[in-house]
Symmetry: C2
DNA sequence: TTGTACGCGTTATCAT
DNA sequence: ATGATAACGCGTACAA
């Protein structure tokens, strides 16, 4: 709107060359304190900010990063993103967010774009790096075309993927600990005397779902117990999915219900508890429930939810850190050590309700 | 990483001038079909995309917009943002998100930056327009310095604020209908026989809170009923706030509790219901509750929540539309007509639970 | 229809 | 410590 003021203007007003102004802009030491002082004053006075365009022509950097995730409406992604944005900004990077809405939750507005299309758009935005969480990359069967597309992206700009390493994909990966949370939940239930434990939620064919269910099975075996197949019901990650999964579990197991159930996240647990109530079952008396991924205000549910805090925010910071160091040319990969934390409340039955 | 290919390269490979390539890039009609065809092929073959930097030097556009809101973790903002991002992208604009975290919810990571600081950062990012939702701008008492800061921003780039017009602020405003939802809720409660209605949640000193409470009072008067002051408890917008507000309301009104309560949003309602249960009161039998802003999976609460869908997503689209037309030089302001929709479920008591 | 040449605002190189 | 100037990749006025 108002005519842009340029470095040349500042140089003129300060009675120095553009080079000198550029030097103070970039904190070069070789400027006399007096001049620097004066120039800074003028810069401030005229409210001058350098053009990112002209800068970009030289160094090819936007100081923007791109974040690609399915749906910011999902609290899991939101808490992750919040930290990403914040930490990135404290490193002078702004964050462009792309919701690929890979999930079917918001069909109304589902994007006609494939994730590979997004890669192209992101590339055109000339971001300095890309962070990917969820979506296609989380599938067990990934098309070679997709791998190629993401590799192509990575050829142009550093790409960090949150999830476990994929064969043939050259990006950087931030590993999530998918077993720990499950394990502590199983142990907790065992300690409470449960041996008949089920698992609900999570989309089939998604790596993190499979990883968790495998962890669940494996941990159960540790106790010499093989979980019943009908006590494991996958569906998806939202409340309606939890409801439906629980309903199915109830329907399919008339005479051998589990006494405790692990839900893949808080929303699924919410739906599951609702399904129990609709079936005139009460939680935790009839079936205890615990969730292995905290978000939402599950402390205010009825019953209050026992859950595991996986510290997703922390993950976000690590991912950005990894990305920024990649942008700066470092290739050493950061490993994320986070210890999921059990949050014991009512739904597991270990605290008696008043 | 890989050496960037430029328009000059494309021109050489196609055996034409850069001008001609530029013409096909910008869909200029004056290029012979044959040449255009050939050039396009080469562009595609080499996977060429024009440099936004060089382009920006000419037209001063990034095709990025900035969105500033307190906290994307809040479902109210998330659903709004989702639509913004999506609609913006379908108009070729990418969205940079800034969480100013004005609320105290995430103290752990609270930003040391003021919103005015953010204005500066946003400006440096050279976005084509800015969307502001929540934060300082929603306060009743806004410091002149803040108004000046936002005006200064608007002097440089179009700024659209979601909220009602502020004296002295030159930005564009998208008005929210704050009465409609409340009104239909009061009417609904009246129809169910309630005359003793309370209101909880919302931060004092925030315009939307005041607007809603005023609407509440006014509507009650329509029925010849002045609500008790002790039946109106403000706090904030999250579940813990609903809990605390309800607790206070219960404590302060030992012998004259309301029979129905309107919560400012679903999270507050969740907290409130929890507080009732902790006080051995049941909802809706003892006190009916309804929320005037739907989000979350309130359909899965116990009891299922009666609420109002304010169509926030729609608001997001309108805001972007307004912003884009402002970017394109139009000044006519778009008015948003949206009819909040009552979603009747269990917590209001009009549906008997099984 | 096509091409030449300049300018956009900044940083880097090389002088001084 | 400071300054002159080339270069970055693109759009566009102007010329042909």
């Amino acid at each position: 709107m108002s005519k842009k003021i340029t470095i040349t203007d500042i140089a003129k007003k300060s009675g120095v060359s553009v080079t000198t102004v550029s030097r103070v802009l970039n904190n070069s030491p070789s400027v006399s304190p007096a001049k620097r002082e004066r120039i800074l004053r003028i810069i401030d006075e005229y409210n001058y900010t350098p053009s990112i365009f002209a800068r970009g022509m030289i160094n090819h950097k936007t100081k923007n990063i791109g974040v690609m995730l399915p749906d910011i409406t999902n609290p899991y992604f939101a808490s992750f993103f919040l930290q990403v944005e914040h930490f990135a900004l404290s490193n002078m990077y702004a964050t462009i967010l792309f919701n690929t809405m890979y999930t079917k939750n918001h069909q109304k507005y589902e994007t006609p774009l494939s994730e590979a299309d997004y890669f192209k758009i992101i590339l055109e935005k000339q971001v300095d790096g890309v962070l990917i969480l969820g979506g296609q990359i989380d599938k067990e069967e990934i098309s070679p075309a997709f791998i190629e597309a993401i590799n192509e992206l990575h050829r142009n700009v550093p790409v960090v993927v949150v999830g476990s390493k994929i064969e043939g994909c050259n990006c950087l990966f931030i590993e999530r600990n998918s077993k720990q949370g499950i394990t502590s939940l199983v142990h907790h239930f065992k300690a409470l005397g449960h041996s008949n434990i089920g698992f609900i939620g999570g989309e089939p064919g998604i790596r993190i779902t499979t990883a968790r269910i495998n962890a669940f099975r494996q941990c159960m075996r540790t106790f010499g117990k093989e979980p019943l197949e009908s006590h494991i019901v996958m569906s998806d990650y939202y409340a309606p999915d939890g409801y439906q999964a629980m309903k199915q579990l109830l329907d399919d197991n008339n005479n051998q219900l589990p006494t405790a159930i692990i839900a893949i996240n808080d929303m699924v647990a919410l739906g599951a508890i609702r399904a129990m109530k609709d079936a005139n079952l009460s939680c935790p008396e009839d079936i205890a429930i615990a969730s292995c991924d905290q978000f939402l205000h599950s402390d205010y549910f009825t019953p209050r939810l026992t859950t595991v805090d996986q510290h997703n925010e922390y993950l976000g910071r690590m991912a950005v850190m990894q990305l920024i160091s990649a942008i700066n040319g470092s290739i050493e990969s950061i490993s994320v050590e986070h210890m999921p934390q059990l949050v014991i409340r009512e739904s597991c039955g270990s605290i008696t309700r008043s």
